[in-house]
């Protein structure tokens, strides 16, 4: 205990402040955004409720999605389906509507549905198991009170994401405190992290686990491998994978890192390195293997995978609408993924419903698209983002060029982080392509899917503020923090006006 206290005392104050900023921000988002208006929150709450009420995991059913009567009636009283996706409509708030909601809250409605919780059904259970514990621990049986408490858990995970992301950035630029603090604050104040961190969504555990994984890899590369460090990486991977299947995207990066460690160890240290890597692989594999066995033997449910695509609404395209000549081939898959993240090459068929996915989906989405993708900033904010993003990237690149001597021997470390990003891109491309085929050309991708890479974003910001040198650097870091605060505040004002104005 004494050792732990000493360790906490040794933690730089700035790190604790960064975590606190992310926590306060996500808590504010959690109160600001009406219940269920974070993407798929109704399905995530339904999953946690089903686990808490039955002790079982959800299953896809032939009858389709039926949330519990308590959730359905609450959604109805909140006017949820009249507000989500319809920016001209606000949640109710008149005296009659308050009375109607209170009457739903006062009734003891059934708390189990069909067990099919829509898009969340096939998610792994770890995040929901923890949320189910929060649900059970709630002093009140009121669903909305439980959702408010469940959102606090997500906010704590957002704080962990910022803390671990800042630790990663600190490993990358340890010499310059103000630079890694700016990088950490960039993560803590990122509006999409705050928004998702304010809601019940398993992405929050994935983000935190990804932060831990990247931090763990950085420690191994910079300080050498030990069994404890390798187990940290393995556990981070397992926790992420048991929260959301997306974590699998980082498997190639982890494999490369462990391989590099083994090769670099030399004959003297190979035994020790091998033991460490084995411990890391075991820490990742054991919980996942247990989950696989339980899924097959006891729960009888798919191991991983997103839930079924929702049925197309009237007027939506159907599978028959996807041109046959571009479907079902590896080339089409590669073309789809390429177009998703990189500029479209001249002769390739346009496969995406949006004109420029790299900016329209990822950059604009990272700047901020909130609710169920139903509102965002005025266009000028995205235009500023289109200017700032290349500027920040160029400044970061300038730092890398200037300090290339420090990069000597770090090529494989950088390749590992690049592989983590490429793995995530490939996974998003594969899942998006399948969804695109199944639904006849509908869009799957959302900017929140790249938030597991937030630590890399923080590192880019830290490198960028270093580009102007040690005299002007702290001032640039201060200016960057002002911009981040303004960006976050604007998103919150926008949200207040969208829902209550």
């Amino acid at each position: 205990m004494k050792g732990l206290v000493q360790r906490v005392r040794r933690v730089p104050r700035a790190l604790l402040w960064i975590a606190l900023v992310a926590l306060l921000n996500a808590l504010a988002w959690g109160i600001l955004v009406p219940p269920f208006h974070v993407p798929d929150e109704n399905a995530h709450v339904a999953y946690a409720q089903y686990v808490a009420e039955t002790g079982q995991l959800p299953q896809g059913t032939a009858d389709g999605t039926v949330f519990s009567p308590e959730i359905n009636r609450t959604l109805g009283a909140l006017g949820f389906y009249g507000v989500v996706g319809r920016t001209e409509n606000e949640p109710p708030g008149t005296e009659e509507e308050i009375a109607a909601l209170n009457s739903v809250r006062d009734r003891r409605l059934r708390r189990t549905g069909s067990g099919d919780v829509s898009s969340a059904t096939n998610n792994p259970p770890l995040y929901y198991a923890v949320e189910a514990a929060v649900y059970r621990a709630s002093p009140s049986g009121d669903l909305l009170t439980r959702v408010a408490l469940m959102r606090i858990l997500s906010a704590l995970l957002a704080a962990s994401t910022a803390l671990l992301g800042a630790l990663f950035v600190r490993e990358i630029v340890p010499q310059t405190t103000w630079a890694w603090v700016a990088g950490g604050l960039a993560i803590a104040l990122q509006p999409m992290l705050g928004f998702i961190g304010g809601g019940v969504n398993n992405d929050n555990m994935l983000f935190a686990a990804s932060g831990a994984l990247l931090f763990g890899l950085a420690r191994i590369f910079r300080r050498g491998v030990t069994p404890r460090r390798a187990v940290f990486v393995g556990l981070a991977f397992a926790i992420g994978a048991l929260a959301k299947a997306t974590m699998i995207a980082f498997a190639p990066a982890v494999a490369l890192a462990f391989l590099v460690v083994l090769v670099r160890a030399g004959s003297d240290g190979r035994r020790q390195a091998l033991r460490s890597v084995a411990a890391g692989v075991g820490a990742a594999a054991l919980p996942i293997a247990l989950f696989v066995v339980l899924s097959g033997v006891i729960w009888d449910r798919p191991i991983w995978g997103a839930g079924a695509a929702p049925p197309p609404a009237p007027g939506d395209p159907t599978p028959a609408d996807v041109p046959a000549r571009v479907t079902g081939t590896l080339r089409a898959q590669l073309s789809y993924t390429w177009q998703l993240f990189l500029p479209k090459l001249g002769l390739v068929t346009q496969l995406h419903p949006v004109a420029h996915p790299p900016t329209d989906i990822w950059l604009n989405g990272f700047v901020g698209t909130f609710g169920w993708l139903d509102y965002g900033f005025p266009q000028w904010v995205y235009r500023v983002g289109h200017w700032l993003a290349p500027l920040v990237a160029a400044l970061a690149a300038l730092t890398l060029v200037r300090e290339r001597a420090r990069l000597h021997g770090r090529g494989l470390e950088l390749a590992t982080y690049a592989l983590a990003a490429a793995g995530l891109a490939a996974l998003i491309g594969a899942a998006g392509y399948r969804y695109w085929l199944d639904t006849g050309g509908q869009r799957f991708e959302q900017a929140r899917y790249v938030l597991p890479l937030l630590p890399l974003y923080g590192a880019i910001v830290a490198l960028a503020v270093r580009a102007v040198g040690r005299r002007a650097g702290p001032s640039l870091a201060a200016a960057a923090v002002v911009v981040m605060i303004g960006w976050s505040l604007y998103a919150q004002v926008l949200t207040a006006v969208r829902y209550y104005g």
Binding site: N25, E88, E90, I98, V482
Partner: protein, 226 residues
């Protein structure tokens, strides 16, 4: 390049002070600018034209509510390429005994999204109501909405059912600034908040202010060899 470098004069503090002041002024000015706002819609999508209103006919549709403060109806109307004819709007109580609002749109508008004035605005929300758009001109118009009915009766044109329901958006009569909405935002934010209830708006303000202060504190602590 140690943390001592971060204590390079007071320039980060000056940047924070000037940047913070600019930020506060920009937010205050942005929030003070009056903007047109919607009071809501009837929630009916409008992917296609579902009703044709010929010269001398009127389109009427029963609506669950007319939001308070609505000053005009926004509809998608086609004129077959011709200049928009004069149109009349009226809102009646559902039994037809009381006229709640009425207005007139002068000729010369362009087809597409059109705002039809409602004349006197309603202070209180009215429900249910019947909204009518009459076409006293010699030009036919088409109105957009959703074919069939989304759980409600389609619009009627000259007393007969049209192909579907038409979409109405309600535009607030007064352009309002975000500042002027502060009270409304604070009171509406308490709805459905479970644990937080009436404290919700105050908690949000406190948390946001603390988060901003924490960010500044984190940056400043980086200059103290943290």
């Amino acid at each position: 390049m140690g943390s001592a470098a971060a204590t390079d004069g007071r320039s980060p503090l000056i940047v924070l002070a000037i940047g913070g002041a600019i930020l506060v002024i920009a937010l205050a000015l942005g929030a003070a600018r009056p903007k047109e706002r919607l009071a809501g819609s009837n929630g009916v999508p409008d992917p296609e034209f579902v009703a044709v209103v010929k010269p001398g006919q009127a389109l009427c549709q029963r609506e669950a509510r007319l939001p308070a403060g609505a000053g005009s109806l926004r509809m998608t109307i086609g004129t077959y390429g011709k200049p928009g004819p004069p149109l009349r709007t009226s809102v009646q109580s559902i039994d037809g005994t009381r006229l709640l609002a009425n207005g007139r749109l002068a000729a010369g508008w362009t087809q597409g999204s059109v705002d039809l004035p409602l004349g006197a605005t309603t202070r209180k929300r009215r429900s249910p109501v019947r909204i009518c758009v009459s076409n006293p001109s010699r030009v036919r118009i088409a109105v957009a909405g959703t074919p069939g009915g989304r759980g409600a009766l389609p619009a009627r044109v000259a007393g007969r059912f049209a192909r579907g329901q038409v979409r109405f958006e309600y535009v607030l009569a007064r352009r309002t600034s975000t500042w002027s909405l502060a009270d409304r935002i604070a009171s509406r934010m308490t709805f459905g908040r479970g644990l937080w209830g009436g404290l919700a708006p105050w908690l949000v303000v406190i948390l946001v202010v603390l988060a901003c202060g924490g960010a500044i504190r984190a940056l400043l602590s980086s200059g103290k060899g943290a």
